[in-house]
């Protein structure tokens, strides 16, 4: 998060609009300018692991949005009572509880997804974005702002992994959201016009390549340079 948002967060006035400019910025900043994956380079592991197909990626994205937003909110509500010396453990306990809740709900209502995502749901606990936002924002800001900040970071994470998944599924499996696009193309243009899938895209290397390209395009546009 940029220093700018921190300062603004401190000088906030009592009766602020529900979606004031500052608050909109909390959500909008992590989408592009301060994206957790492409700028802060956090949460890469799951971005590589779950993005072979769009459907599980979407479930993963929703899970991460829930966990980050809720943990930010809960920790922010508790922030004045949390003993400083054990704050990391407290944060972890809250995050772990939320992740377990997500995992239990998936197991009951979307067992196929639960099986497919298996350990990666549990690994949301170690997703650097979660702890990063708790330490950097939720411990020092009000609940509603923290909720928005969490939403912003999670959405920034989500659109990147969904984009990666789109290209990986399209080129790797010839489909989008499980719809066999390549087959349709072949059926329109006749059997001679068949598209080959690329096995590289199914392996994590494919995610690295796509992610690298996204970072490249984005930094060319925004002119961002790492210091």
């Amino acid at each position: 998060m940029s220093a700018e948002t921190l300062e603004k967060a401190i000088e906030k006035k009592p009766a602020e609009a529900l979606f004031s400019k500052r608050r909109r910025k909390l959500v909008a900043d992590p989408l592009i300018d301060d994206n957790p994956i492409t700028i802060q380079v956090l949460g890469i592991c799951s971005a590589l692991a779950v993005t072979t197909q769009m459907k599980p990626t979407l479930v993963m994205a929703i899970s991460v949005i829930f966990v980050i937003a809720m943990s930010n909110f809960v920790i922010s509500v508790m922030r004045n009572t949390i003993p400083a010396r054990v704050r990391i453990i407290v944060q972890l306990a809250v995050v772990a509880t939320l992740v377990t809740l997500v995992s239990e709900v998936l197991k009951a209502f979307a067992y196929d997804m639960y099986k497919e995502l298996s350990v990666f749901i549990g690994l949301i606990i170690t997703n650097c974005i979660v702890m990063g936002r708790l330490e950097a924002f939720a411990m020092g800001n009000k609940p509603y702002d923290s909720l928005l900040d969490g939403l912003g970071s999670a959405l920034g994470y989500s659109w990147i992994i969904l984009t990666v998944a789109f290209f990986r599924e399209l080129f790797g499996s010839g489909s989008v959201f499980g719809i066999p696009v390549y087959n349709y193309v072949s059926s329109i243009f006749g059997p001679d016009f068949s598209l080959a899938t690329n096995g590289l895209m199914v392996s994590p290397i494919g995610a690295f390549i796509i992610l690298g390209l996204i970072v490249w395009v984005q930094r060319t546009k925004t002119g961002y340079v790492e210091h």
Binding site: P83, R85, V90, T97, L101, E104, F109, Y111, V202, S203
Partner: protein
């Protein structure tokens, strides 16, 4: 601010209790639904050995349950092929993974019978559970044998943690289709099972005991081979029993 030790301990204790209650409560509420989901998943895997994945995906959970109860009968046998199913011992309750840890002779072996609708006598194929070790973790599956008790009608394979894109490909329809039509016994009646070979892209259509491998996943393939061979040998007595019955019936 600096809090006292007592405060920290009380805070931690309260937090633990609150979170603990929340989690155990959730688990209590969702438990039955999870059991249902697991049972449904097992049925889908069993059916996967005899009908295509697309057909199963197109079914709603209710339809899967209905189809399963109409078309699948089950029994439990021991290593000698003797039926041991009773009120307590039913195929659906036998956990293959648990028995895997016991010596082969002490295990219970479920058999699922795929039959024509409404007529359990008109058997279409026998489905046998499989369980073994892949590269990283457990692998399992269901193998369907046609009524000649030799030709593979279909197979479903699943895994707990094989490498995505490599060993994890055993769950793909394209890999599983390679087994269809292969034979598990040779001409003299010896069990040879089916071997998944090293390397990929070769044509094994002329060899009834070999299938094309998965590039980069030889150890997973070996795991599948060992699993197939082991479980077919455990079920051999049952399989032989059935095939001799049919030979007699044919006379």
């Amino acid at each position: 601010m600096q809090q006292s030790n007592t405060y920290i301990i009380v805070f931690s204790a309260v937090l633990t209790i609150v979170l603990g209650l929340l989690l155990s409560g959730t688990s209590q509420v969702l438990g039955p639904m999870q059991q249902e989901a697991i049972a449904l998943d097992k049925k889908k895997q069993i059916l996967g050995a005899v009908i295509s994945a697309e057909e199963i995906d197109a079914m709603t959970p209710v339809q899967v349950n209905e189809f399963y109860s109409k078309r699948i009968a089950s029994t439990v046998v021991d290593i000698n092929g003797k039926e041991i199913s009773s009120g307590d011992v039913t195929a659906e309750k036998v956990e293959v993974a648990k028995f895997y840890k016991k010596p082969a002779a002490d295990r219970q072996y479920p058999v699922y019978v795929f039959h024509a609708e409404g007529n359990p006598e008109a058997v279409e194929s026998y489905i046998f559970p499989l369980y073994g070790a892949g590269l990283w973790d457990a692998i399992w599956g269901y193998l369907a044998l046609e009524t000649d008790m030799n030709t593979i009608g279909g197979i479903t394979l699943a895994h707990a943690g094989e490498t995505p894109g490599l060993g994890a490909r055993i769950t793909e329809g394209g890999v599983q289709e390679r087994y269809v039509g292969k034979k598990v016994f040779d001409e003299s009646g010896q069990l040879v099972a089916v071997q998944m070979m090293k390397g990929e892209g070769k044509d094994y259509s002329g060899d009834v005991h070999k299938v094309d491998g998965m590039s980069g996943a030889t150890i997973t393939a070996n795991g599948v081979n060992n699993m197939l061979k082991a479980y077919l040998s455990h079920y051999e007595a049952f399989i032989k029993g059935k095939s001799s019955n049919q030979a007699v019936a044919g006379l």
